[in-house]
């Protein structure tokens, strides 16, 4: 009697079979504000704010928390194309963003900032969304370079997302093709300025007027 080895049947990868991403998306749809709002926290802060003289306490607390937030923005390293080379130069010793409290971190779960550096293709966009969803709130996104801003020179390509703001909300757009490290550094300083005026309103910070 002949014994045949079982032939392994490996199904081809079909992207619609990844149920966890869809369930996570459904979960996100049911909580669009994420962890930004907590009823108890809102009630306590409203109580303190409405108490006579209480706004001083909340302003001081907001200022302190925003100072803490802006002083340790950890960007997740999300290099997609040639802009990532300039991003690496920004992280390296000459331009040294570590003096601003930024540590390039290789995990989205410990990060506050995602620097989208490069062309986002249509196949990459769901993965980018997923990494953004894995970051804890509050979180920020810097769109670096023409490709991430609008599609850039590849805007009329068949596979290019015409701006990463079609996938995730963007706080600071850094122009350039690619932007030099000084430009990205300026964008990060602008982001820190936005974080310094961050309020728990669920809305994005307005761009400050002093930026030319």
């Amino acid at each position: 009697m002949e014994v045949k080895a079982p032939v392994p049947q490996i199904p081809p990868p079909v992207w619609t079979e990844f149920k966890d991403l869809q369930e996570w998306e459904k979960y996100r749809q049911s909580r669009p504000e994420g962890d930004k709002h907590s009823g108890l926290f809102e009630a306590v802060t409203d109580g303190i704010y409405n108490f006579p003289g209480g706004f001083v306490v909340t302003s001081l607390a907001d200022g302190f928390l925003n100072w803490a937030r802006k002083s340790s923005v950890w960007p997740v390293t999300f290099g997609l194309a040639c802009c990532a080379i300039e991003m690496m130069a920004t992280f390296a010793s000459r331009f040294d963003v570590e003096r601003l409290g930024m540590v390039p971190w290789a995990s989205p779960r410990h990060s506050d900032l995602m620097i989208v550096s490069g062309t986002v293709s249509i196949k990459m966009a769901p993965m980018l969304k997923r990494i953004y969803d894995q970051m804890p709130d509050p979180k920020w996104v810097v769109s670096m370079g023409s490709c991430a801003n609008s599609g850039g020179p590849f805007r009329h390509g068949y596979h290019v997302v015409k701006g990463v703001d079609r996938v995730v909300p963007v706080d600071v757009y850094v122009p350039g093709c690619p932007p030099p490290p000084e430009s990205l550094l300026n964008g990060l300083l602008i982001l820190q300025d936005q974080i310094a005026h961050f309020r728990k309103t669920g809305e994005r910070a307005k761009p400050s007027a002093k930026i030319d």
């Binding site: 081809p12 990868p13 079909v14 992207w15 619609t16 249509i122 196949k123 966009a125 009329h156 390509g157 068949y158 596979h159 290019v160 997302v161 015409k162 079609r166 996938v167």
Partner: protein, 135 residues
């Protein structure tokens, strides 16, 4: 059949029914063991042209094989039985040009996502077709 070229490079054009026979001759008679690339050209109303380049690395000889499929034809014999390197190249040909390689073991998209509609390197593909929310 027409041949041309210079030096150690040769270009051979055959009708599509002799495509596999040409590949076998290149593999067995000319000793071309290295599959360099395979691609296609869209000549609009004249139809598609499949191009493949194989090389004999020991002799420094390269052979460029071409075949015109004719208008409306999207089927050609696969070269995967001769070169395993043709596998992914022909998947890319299916992905970008919609060419059905007969005899390919696993003909599915390689670069674009599996639910993509159309073949974007064809001249008839409209690149600004809306693809919400990305395009």
């Amino acid at each position: 059949m027409a041949a041309g070229g210079e030096g150690n490079a040769l270009t051979v054009t055959v009708p599509p029914e002799q495509w596999l026979a040409l590949g076998r001759a290149a593999r067995e008679s000319l000793g071309c063991g290295y599959f360099n690339f395979s691609s296609a050209v869209d000549w609009k109303e004249e139809g598609l042209e499949v191009v493949a380049r194989v090389e004999n690395l020991d002799a420094g000889f390269s052979l460029t094989m071409k075949t015109r499929l004719g208008p409306g034809v999207t089927s050609v014999a696969s070269l995967t039985s001769l070169w395993r390197g043709a596998d992914w190249m022909e998947r890319e040909g299916w992905d970008m040009f919609g060419i059905r390689y007969e005899g390919h073991p696993d003909l599915r998209r390689i670069l674009l996502s599996q639910d993509w509609e159309g073949h974007p390197l064809l001249k008839s593909y409209a690149v600004d077709t809306p693809y919400p929310p990305y395009r």
